[in-house]
């Protein structure tokens, strides 16, 4: 037993230590690791590797390659297993593999499952209803707001929000989930799937977000702790996201975006994909719009997602609930063209059919749906305010363009923009103005 996995101390470590150590062998990829772990208990496999009975497979498509390749036996002999295991446990890092009962159930039937999954936090969150909210790092303020709202409202409805901890859409979705009101733990359930080790925050300025996600849900990764992400880890990470969820929602993606990989992998797995439509000329939505055109249906907000998942959204929504309950779908409502649209109820006397004495359980009157769907019960302001409102588009617009379109002095445009922004009609992001559909209260 001297050269066995008992190590110098003569005691066996937990199986997880060996599983994790196998994942850390040089040149180890998910497929090799899975095949390896099918042979039995991780500790026994580790022993075989140490003894040289299981050797490193030859590099594919290369004869010799560049530089000397470290053999697995040599790597395993030099691996400070106990120190690793100690460090992982100290930092709250767990290890699971397919034979382990904690391994996420959805991944057991996955065509390309991770051989080993490292995690921090509560892995059990992945056994509940999970939705991935993914998208580009270089997103628009509106996309960010969409992702944030989706994260918040889905987590508020008890859905676990899965994303990739990246800048832009991913981060906004996590932040939204963390801010979900009314969730059991005071913060919503969210799981981040990382391409680097679970203790290597990437990007570095998301370190605080990683900690919050790990505390509120979990951060998981295939990459052994302490290792930065190699380029191939990112698409691999995206397949794990696709394998962990019931639905993938793409918020914004450039044509070459990694979130399109997540969508492809989800489609391969029979996981439903939905897309938040973006402006047709915007590069940041070109990929997601193409995806939308190719088939997956659109979603506008969390209510649509919950509807698509077959979950009735009966939680009280935040102010300005914009659509009727899923039973009365807008397309059904529009089947009756003879019914005249009611005048806007905001401000004026309420039309008789929308009296508030309806019993709350009855479906809302059909005619209310389309009206409430309009971007905002605007009653477009008159005069200069209206001109400025017209001049700002739904896409990010520079102040110069607004002044040009409105044909008013700069100072007056600046004043009106500020007034309208205070009403929540615009967001401003570093000099770029954009109309927003909803009211204020959006967090950047």
């Amino acid at each position: 037993m001297t050269a066995s996995a008992t190590g110098s101390g003569g005691w066996r470590l937990a199986q997880g230590a060996y599983a994790g150590a196998l994942a850390a062998l040089p040149g180890m990829g998910p497929a090799t690791l899975c095949a390896l772990l099918e042979r039995g208990a991780p500790a026994d496999i580790w022993d075989s590797v140490r003894r040289g009975e299981i050797v490193r497979p030859p590099a594919r498509g290369s004869s010799g390659g560049a530089g000397p390749r470290l053999s697995w036996a040599a790597a395993a002999a030099g691996a400070p297993l106990e120190r690793w295991w100690d460090a992982w446990q100290r930092r709250g890092i767990g290890v699971t593999w397919p034979a382990d009962p904690r391994y996420p159930r959805r991944l057991l039937s996955d065509p390309e499952p991770p051989g080993v999954l490292f995690w921090r936090g509560d892995l059990g969150r992945l056994e509940s209803r999970c939705v991935a909210v993914v998208g580009t790092r270089r997103c628009s303020p509106d996309g960010r707001a969409s992702a944030y709202d989706l994260g918040r409202d889905l987590a508020g409805a008890g859905v676990c929000v899965v994303s990739g901890l990246a800048l832009g859409i991913d981060g906004a979705a996590h932040l939204g989930a963390l801010d979900a009101p009314g969730a059991p733990s005071g913060t919503g359930s969210t799981v981040g799937v990382a391409a680097s080790g679970v203790d290597v925050a990437y990007p570095a300025r998301h370190a605080a977000l990683w900690e919050r996600v790990a505390a509120a849900g979990a951060v998981v990764s295939e990459t052994p702790p302490g290792r930065p992400a190699q380029a191939w880890r990112f698409p691999a990470r995206n397949r794990v996201i696709a394998g962990l969820v019931d639905m993938v929602v793409v918020v914004e993606s450039h044509v070459t975006g990694g979130s399109l990989i997540t969508a492809d992998k989800a489609i391969d797995r029979g996981v439903e994909v939905r897309v938040v439509p973006g402006p047709v000329h915007a590069p940041f939505a070109a990929g997601s719009n193409q995806l939308l055109y190719d088939g997956p249906g659109p979603v506008r907000d969390a209510a649509d997602v919950l509807d698509a998942l077959g979950l009735v959204d009966h939680r009280p929504r935040r102010s300005g609930r914009r659509r009727p309950a899923p039973v009365a779908r807008p397309e059904q409502l529009r089947l009756d063209p003879a019914r005249p649209a009611p005048p806007p109820s905001a401000g004026g006397p309420a039309p008789p059919q929308s009296c508030s004495d309806d019993p709350p359980s009855s479906p809302p009157p059909p005619s209310v749906g389309p009206e409430l769907r309009s971007p905002r019960p605007l009653g477009r302001p008159d005069g200069p305010h209206g001109e400025v409102l017209e001049a700002v588009g739904w896409r990010p617009t520079s102040l110069g363009r607004i002044v040009e379109r409105a044909g008013r002095p700069v100072g007056s445009v600046g004043r009106i923009l500020e007034e309208l922004a205070a009403q929540g009609l615009f967001t401003e992001d570093r000099g770029w103005w954009q109309r927003t559909a909803g009211g204020g209260g959006r967090r950047e």
């Binding site: 932040l175 896409r395 110069g400 002044v403």
Partner: protein
């Protein structure tokens, strides 16, 4: 035999009077120049001897010693050729001493005996204390702008000698054409759209505020910047003379009327070195681009491509209006009061900087933004985004849209606003001291409230506040309304102070 004639050498942009003394004595034929001549000055020996022989003059077969007094100062340039030749002629007895009394000489000699212009003729002529100065014919107009010493022009050494002997006349000094606007300035009415850019130009011209234009390639940043000098008023007589002196010393082409009456426009490429920008040099202290742009516009295109250390040398001249260039041998002060206009892309990829509209990674945008130091960015009172014009606007026939205001209309407003600043006792609104802002730029209650809100939100710093108030002062002057500055002027001033570079700050 001994003779001395006055001449001058150039130190920076100032002339230093030099007494050229020549001593001719018996001994072995020899020609030596003493008194700290630099290389170009020492070469005078060969040029002068060749010019003598080409002009049919006899070189004295004696020991000739030239001394350039004051001997402690290094003499620079070939302008001392002519005085050396003339003093030698006098000392050798080929010219009567009376012929050169009260007469200075400036000029380089060609091997064929021709007399040529040298750089800095304006400053050199101004340094001559004598009643008349002899210069090359091509430098006569330049020397004449000084006005004080009578200018005597000659095209060759032979003519100089003949005229001094009284055998021949001097060449006539050409009459100066009236100053005219340079053709290349361009008119503001050529600019389509760009309301913010136009306003920023007007404010920059009226208040002397430094301007940063941010926009993608092809948006028209350079086009706008080139139209700024046209908005500035003509230079006053003193300024014009000073600028002419600098340009003459830098060897720049002077306008047809010699006197530089329009504000200069200088646009150095971003490979410029520190010395070329600020001034200095080894052989001779030359004025840099910032001095060539004195009383005019210095345009730095692709600001972020300039080396950071080069840019940071601009900070002190921007504050003080002059730059003191110190070297081991001399310290030279160059005037450098210029309006700084810079242009930059919002990010390296050349996108328009809109959120989600560029290909750069956040890291590369952050790096790009860091290339321009905060203190320098802070000097720009005006920071304006410039966008590519609408396609429909560009291809629309010329008459489809009413043209924008022309340069002359805007220049009129600028002149009036500048007059108001002058009445207030400040050179320009950009130079109102912070302590006098309440006095000279009082705010209306609503304007004050707006600034208070911005300060509380952290969207405006204390220093930014002063700069916004100065710009608002200029905007109010342009509108011509008396009384305290109203809210809309403050709004416009805030709109003209956009964040130049956009990069994500994560709020997690």
């Amino acid at each position: 035999m001994f003779a001395a004639v006055p001449s001058a050498t150039l130190i920076g942009v100032d002339g230093l009077t030099v007494r050229v003394e020549v001593h001719v004595t018996t001994g072995l034929p020899q020609f030596s120049i003493v008194g700290l001549p630099d290389a170009s000055c020492r070469e005078a020996k060969d040029r002068v001897r060749a010019a003598f022989s080409s002009s049919g003059l006899a070189w004295p077969q004696k020991r000739v010693t030239v001394n350039l007094a004051p001997t402690g100062q290094r003499k620079i340039g070939s302008g001392l050729d002519l005085p050396i030749a003339v003093a030698t002629l006098v000392a050798a007895g080929q010219l009567p001493a009376e012929a050169v009394t009260d007469c200075g000489f400036i000029g380089e000699l060609g091997l064929d005996g021709s007399v040529r212009r040298v750089d800095g003729t304006v400053a050199l002529a101004a340094a001559i204390g004598a009643g008349a100065v002899v210069v090359g014919r091509d430098a006569a107009a330049e020397a004449a702008v000084v006005g004080r010493p009578r200018v005597l022009a000659a095209s060759s050494l032979r003519q100089v000698v003949a005229a001094l002997r009284g055998d021949d006349g001097w060449s006539p000094v050409p009459a100066l054409p009236a100053p005219s606007r340079p053709a290349g300035e361009g008119d503001l009415c050529d600019v389509r759209g760009q309301p913010l850019g136009r306003l920023a130009l007007e404010v920059a011209a009226a208040g002397g505020h430094h301007l940063l234009l941010v926009g993608p390639p092809g948006a028209g940043k350079t086009m706008l910047a080139r139209r700024l000098p046209g908005l500035l008023p003509d230079l006053g007589p003193d300024d014009a003379f000073e600028v002419t002196r600098i340009h003459s010393a830098a060897g720049l082409r002077l306008p047809a009327g010699v006197m530089v009456t329009r504000p200069p426009f200088r646009a150095p490429h971003h490979t410029a070195s520190t010395v070329s920008l600020v001034g200095g040099g080894t052989a001779r202290m030359r004025p840099g681009e910032i001095s060539c742009a004195h009383r005019g516009v210095l345009f730095l295109d692709e600001l972020a491509e300039f080396p950071a250390d080069v840019l940071d040398t601009l900070r002190q001249p921007l504050e003080e209006g002059r730059v003191l260039v110190c070297r081991a041998r001399a310290a030279v002060s160059f005037p450098a009061r210029f309006l700084l206009v810079a242009a930059t892309n919002p990010c390296p990829c050349g996108g328009d900087g809109s959120p989600g509209g560029c290909r750069c990674s956040e890291a590369s945008r952050t790096r790009y933004a860091a290339r321009v130091s905060g203190p320098l960015l802070d000097r720009f009172d005006l920071r304006v985004g410039v966008e590519r014009p609408d396609v429909t606007d560009l291809i629309a026939p010329a008459g489809a849209r009413p043209p924008g205001e022309s340069t002359s209309t805007v220049a009129g407003r600028v002149a009036r606003a500048r007059q108001q600043a002058a009445d207030r006792g400040v050179a320009s609104n950009a130079e109102i001291p912070a302590a006098r802002l309440d006095d000279l730029a009082p705010l209306s209650p609503s304007g004050r409230r707006l600034l208070e809100v911005r300060l509380r939100q952290g969207r405006l710093s204390a220093r930014g506040l002063h700069r916004v108030r100065r710009v608002a002062r200029t905007l109010a002057d342009l509108q011509g309304g008396p009384g305290p500055i109203d809210e809309e002027a403050v709004h416009a001033a805030l709109a003209l102070r956009a964040e130049p570079f956009t990069f994500e700050v994560v709020a997690s």
